[in-house]
Symmetry: C2
Subunit: 276 residues, 2 copies
């Protein structure tokens, strides 16, 4: 992983996000080795790229509020096509239909809601966990042989790796870590969409080891405006993720992304397939 | 509200769910007075009806795992058309594109994931709140002039109505109540989809009164198989809902639906628009 100075346009995340307009509501992209998972792209990168198509669309209104991405089939290394179509545009909100296709086959579907944010009464009810600062913690490292982990700087707070004895069940599925892009990159909505999927499947922690598993559907709610994201600069954010139930081949996973100053930037939920 | 004996086909929920096939991937329905909100249908009923179109589709595979519904525009009293189209069908999972239109205009979009459930290792990590039984609690009643509240029997545990003094902020946004259809109806996936939206907007509780607000997008994960739902019969389920953050016109709301015996039947998340 190069640590050399770079401009945003050269950042691996921006290269992975690159889309070429290809007619009405159509964009062409290509999978990225820097965000490769075991047998396909890192799901967070796929979610970010679908969102990016709406962000780059000439009819875009406002900023992302919600994003749902459904992983319908495998994505192979190579080129892909995204359809990002406004289903409905209102005065201050806009609804998007999203679809990623490879060789004419739908691999990923999704929807997004954009809106013009305005100042209102507000209240933060959830409280950021009390954790040590990022710069006091060692790098987390990956425990799985996946490339995309190297595109992030993660500092483990707890639950970094499965730690229960083999054959036993970990009492909780809570993982917390500090996170930023590697190399550092000033975040935008696409970065946040990817961050929300940066937690390894909760069942690895719960069952203390590798279990075949994959996200089926992820929904992210964006709670920060663009200026708040830009002000984060190259600081780490705190990610926290936990499951509620594992049953009949599926478990849920809810995550929060906090700024170092305690602002809840995003909350995200997913349902994950697992085997056995 | 009639308490007379009824067959399932006469139940107001089934009448509201009724869809007439109208060609490939198309169904015709009609809004229901029994599930009317203030200026449109109860959002939970709309979500249930979109799901029902996939449930009734001749190409359906398996049972619902995830449902996302985006409320893009108002629905008027009267007929509507639903498109429920399989985006991709795999060996044991199926992805759906959902759309509700009125007079040719898209009012609601969504997606669903269905799957064939199979027995696996499982674990319930979240624990049901310790609350008094439903039959020891009085009916909740509505505090807003909406019809659909009368189609449910709700027994308040806490947070039933805004209770903070006007002008003050309630310390939390947690509401818990026991819930069943009224008249009683053996639940199915459509019923659960509706239940997950049965919580009034968290901002009413937080700000101790009515604030213009409406769900923008809701995502529900179904954690129970069809047999588990059928076994509930006419018993109440426990619903719990809470927000994490209210900011710039939007807040989130996460809900859990528990069986009386402590099984997490569904978890659901939504992002809600509010004014001021």
């Amino acid at each position: 992983m190069t640590q050399a100075p770079h401009t945003d346009s050269q950042h691996p995340f921006d290269l992975a996000l690159a889309l070429e307009p290809a007619g009405a509501h159509r964009f062409l992209g290509h999978t990225s080795q820097a965000y490769w998972n075991m047998i396909g792209p890192f799901g967070g990168m796929t979610a970010a790229t679908l969102l990016q198509a709406a962000l780059r669309h000439p009819e875009r209104l406002g900023d992302p509020i919600a994003l749902t991405v459904n992983f319908a089939g495998p994505i192979a290394e190579g080129p892909f096509e995204i359809e990002a179509r406004p289903s409905r545009t209102n005065r201050s909100t806009q609804h998007w239909h999203l679809e990623l296709r490879q060789n004419g086959e739908v691999t990923t579907t999704g929807s997004a809601v954009f809106a013009v944010r305005r100042e209102t009464w507000g209240s933060g009810e959830a409280v950021m966990p009390d954790v040590p600062p990022a710069d006091t913690l060692p790098g987390m490292g990956g425990f799985a042989p996946v490339r995309w982990i190297g595109s992030y700087d993660m500092r483990a707070v707890r639950g970094a790796k499965p730690s229960a004895a083999v054959g036993t069940e970990h009492p909780d599925s809570l993982t917390q870590f500090w996170l930023r892009d590697e190399p550092a990159r000033t975040p935008d909505y696409a970065a946040v969409a990817a961050w929300c999927d940066a937690f390894y499947p909760r069942i690895f922690l719960k069952r203390a080891g590798f279990v075949p598993a994959g996200t089926v559907s992820i929904t992210t709610y964006f709670h920060a405006d663009a200026a708040t994201l830009a002000e984060l600069g190259d600081s780490h954010v705190l990610g926290s993720a936990r499951a509620q139930v594992f049953r009949q081949g599926f478990f849920d996973q809810s995550a929060q992304i906090w700024s170092a100053s305690g602002v809840l930037l995003a909350s995200s939920h997913q349902i994950v397939y697992y085997k056995e």
